[in-house]
Symmetry: C2
Subunit: 212 residues, 2 copies
């Protein structure tokens, strides 16, 4: 139970397993990944996965919860930042984009595992509530009341902000096939699309027929 949170090049066995499991689970999902896949990716004996994590399910939940936090924690933090609403939305989109650029399978992984077994969210509700009860909703209400932003609920606005970016990476393979572009072509498209989405959302929110 030592050396569990360092960044030294000498990783503990537990860390090696976690990192391998992260890679394998993200790529293949819970059902598609085997204990031996993970042991091989970590370069360790199979028995060690159960020695450190008791079972495949426990190891998976450990990874899933980390990914779920990664998915929502950054969002919750930005939502509570003391910055303007317009800038906040732009930053949320930029952040989501960078996060998924670094972890292209994150969105489809989280969505799929939740879809297959919604109970897996049970242990991670707090971070969802953190998003729900952030400054974001109150700030939106203020913007609406002063007539700057078109009337809309946070429940409707949040999906508009995130779905475009997440769909971009979930549908990456399909996009490349459909438009016959390679990795480089997709990256160029993705960057342009991100800016387009920012423009789309902000234009829709801020430029509307004010009825006073």
């Amino acid at each position: 139970m030592k050396n569990s949170m360092t960044c030294s090049p000498f990783k503990s066995t537990e860390e090696k397993i976690r990192e391998a499991a992260k890679r394998v689970f993200l790529e293949k999902g819970f059902d598609g990944a085997t204990s031996r896949d993970i042991a091989d990716a970590a370069g360790i004996n199979i028995a060690l996965t159960n020695y450190y994590f008791r079972s495949k399910e426990k190891l998976f939940m450990s990874i899933f919860e980390e990914m779920f936090q990664l998915f929502f924690n950054g969002i919750a933090e930005i939502m509570n930042k003391p910055i303007g609403f317009r800038e906040k939305i732009a930053e949320l989109i930029d952040h989501d984009f960078e996060l998924l650029k670094k972890n292209p399978s994150l969105a489809i992984f989280v969505m799929n595992e939740i879809h297959r077994n919604p109970d897996r969210m049970a242990t991670s509700i707090e971070v969802l509530k953190k998003v729900h009860h952030s400054q974001f909703e109150a700030q939106l209400q203020q913007e609406i009341e002063r007539g700057a932003v078109r009337p809309i609920t946070a429940m409707h606005l949040m999906p508009l902000i995130f779905c475009n970016i997440q769909f971009l990476f979930m549908g990456k393979a399909m996009h490349m096939k459909m438009w016959q572009v390679d990795e480089v072509g997709f990256d160029a498209f993705a960057n342009k699309h991100k800016e387009l989405v920012k423009d789309l959302v902000l234009t829709y929110l801020y430029e509307y027929e004010k009825v006073t």
Copy 2:
């Protein structure tokens, strides 16, 4: 090799297997579904799945291709309809919504299986090209040239149209948990959100500062 396309209440064994496989694969994915799951769901002996479809992989591909067609064929048809561009976009959104309302797991299923194994798309490229080479792109270009629609490529516009609806159903479980609503509450939200998305896309496209 008879009775393969009737709607009679007496289904052939092959049909029973297909329908069961459709349900099980959509619910659990390829990796999560077992041959015995499908046989049980169909109420038939295990050996029959291989008697009619040779292997689990072949049975899966048969179902996957059908779902992939279902996913894109309706879209391609609407894109080639001789109607106005504005109405076309509205109809595309309505159609996607109704399709996913009937098959809530369709979007996550197709996206996930493609993500896990992009080669599965290989046999279904034609329908992708059908979408690509539809009337939609030319019509968009006309609208842009006459100054009615903001300059944008079809490659950027199509995701805007579909991602919102598809994300809605892919994230259904998460939405219900986050906003503490039940099935009924979600349906009400979904209906409102669909109209919002139509308004969002059409407003963005048609109401902009024309520079002549």
